[in-house]
């Protein structure tokens, strides 16, 4: 859904775990799923610390 986010003016957008579980992955065992989520969150926090151009 990144193209939609960009279309409406969100400049900081990143891919995620998918439509039904943006911050998860039901196919992974619980601990691995949490690691996956941690990586996504850390990436999001990194993007917040970057300057972006319009």
């Amino acid at each position: 859904m990144i193209p939609v986010a960009k279309e409406v003016g969100s400049v900081r957008a990143m891919g995620s775990g998918g439509i039904v579980s943006p911050t998860g992955n039901p196919d992974l065992p619980p601990e691995k799923e949490k690691d996956f989520r941690r990586e996504l969150v850390l990436r999001a926090l990194k993007i917040l610390q970057e300057d972006v151009r319009e």
């Binding site: 039904v20 943006p22 941690r38 926090l45 917040l48």
Partner: protein, 350 residues
């Protein structure tokens, strides 16, 4: 119409020939008969009516005392027992345009007088009042004074006579956001193919549906210090407290929930529901962290990676959201977060 139409015309201090910006703080006033553009309005009526009075008010006075000015103008207006109020045209003048819209809306609603305003479609008054008042799009140049007055008269007379108005582009008014069903000779498939062929031939064509306009948004500057930043979690994935006490809609949302999470280390699936008609919520209901990463954020807070996790999660259901509602929801959430001193947001979207 056997009886001549009685028209009251509203102008600002400039067009009423009182003065320019130095007179913008004068209060409401009136004069019998037409003034300035009112004379052209009188001509545009071609004998069907008469401009019985001109009301005016300074742009700044109206902007600063809208309520009092409106009440006073209505009081003066009623003495002339008009059939129709024509306001402006205000062209690109914002204060004047807002005053025109406000006085027309008030005259319609409180006195039952038909009203039409004129201004440029980009005028702030157009955005504020185009749903309540027929506003003729004057463009931004005074060059269009005469044709705009003619349009104002034409639409005003139709309103008075109860003649149904045509489409905005036929009558010259700014779209009011109203959809009407109409019968057409050709079914949609044929019209779509016709439109495509027209496009391929490089000829001008017009979509039957106006594409939504998204306003340009200036991106926030980068977070300088994550370890002192307050970060909030927001989602359009439809997270609600168990039982959905605020009755958030699963689709076409008009509101959002505020979920207090202070002191909470994880989102217990028993305490939350996911209400969203746009995706299969089974996985999110099993573990709400799949749509809102509260567990990780709390860990990062405890490790000092982020300064603080904001005390509430805001959530709405993003399915089939009207752009207008989504914008309002987004703005309300953003205002709350801003006033709570939040520095950054992670918004998870399903």
């Amino acid at each position: 119409m056997a009886e001549k139409i009685r028209i009251v015309h509203y102008l600002n201090q400039f067009f009423a020939q009182i003065g320019g910006e130095e007179k913008a703080d004068i209060g409401p006033g009136f004069k019998e008969g037409p003034i300035g553009p009112g004379r052209a309005l009188q001509q545009a009526l071609t004998g069907n009516g008469e401009v019985v009075a001109t009301l005016f008010c300074g742009d700044n006075y109206f902007a600063e005392h809208a309520k009092e000015a409106t009440a006073e103008l209505l009081r003066q207006m009623i003495r002339y027992t008009p059939h129709l109020l024509i306001a402006g045209p205000a062209f690109e003048s914002g204060r004047y345009g807002v005053a025109c819209g406000a006085i027309c809306k008030a005259a319609q609603e409180r006195l039952g007088i038909y009203a039409v305003a004129g201004m440029d479609q980009e005028n702030a008054g157009a955005g504020l009042y185009c749903k309540n008042v027929y506003i003729i799009n004057s463009g931004d140049s005074i060059v269009r004074m005469i044709p705009t007055l003619q349009r104002l008269v034409a639409v005003g007379i139709k309103l008075l006579q109860g003649t149904p108005l045509g489409r905005p582009e036929e009558e010259g008014y700014i779209p009011r956001g109203i959809k009407r069903n109409v019968f057409t000779a050709k079914p949609p498939a044929e019209r779509a193919v016709d439109m495509l062929l027209t496009k391929i031939r490089g000829e001008p064509f017009k979509s039957e549906i106006a594409a939504p306009q998204f306003h340009h948004i200036k991106p926030a500057s980068a977070l300088r210090d994550l370890s002192s930043a307050v970060i909030a979690l927001v989602t359009d994935g439809g997270l609600v407290p168990e039982g959905n006490p605020e009755r958030m809609e699963p689709g076409r949302p008009t509101r959002f929930t505020t979920i207090p999470v202070e002191g909470m280390d994880r989102l217990d699936p028993k305490q939350f529901d996911v209400v969203h008609s746009g995706y299969d919520t089974a996985f999110a209901n099993q573990d709400p962290h799949r749509i809102v990463p509260l567990d990780i954020m709390r860990e990062l807070e405890q490790q000092g990676v982020i300064g603080k996790l904001h005390e509430s999660i805001h959530a709405t259901g993003g399915a089939h959201a009207a752009v207008e509602n989504a914008t309002r929801i987004g703005q309300s959430i953003a205002e709350r977060l801003k006033s709570a001193g939040v520095n950054g947001v992670i918004l998870t979207s399903t």
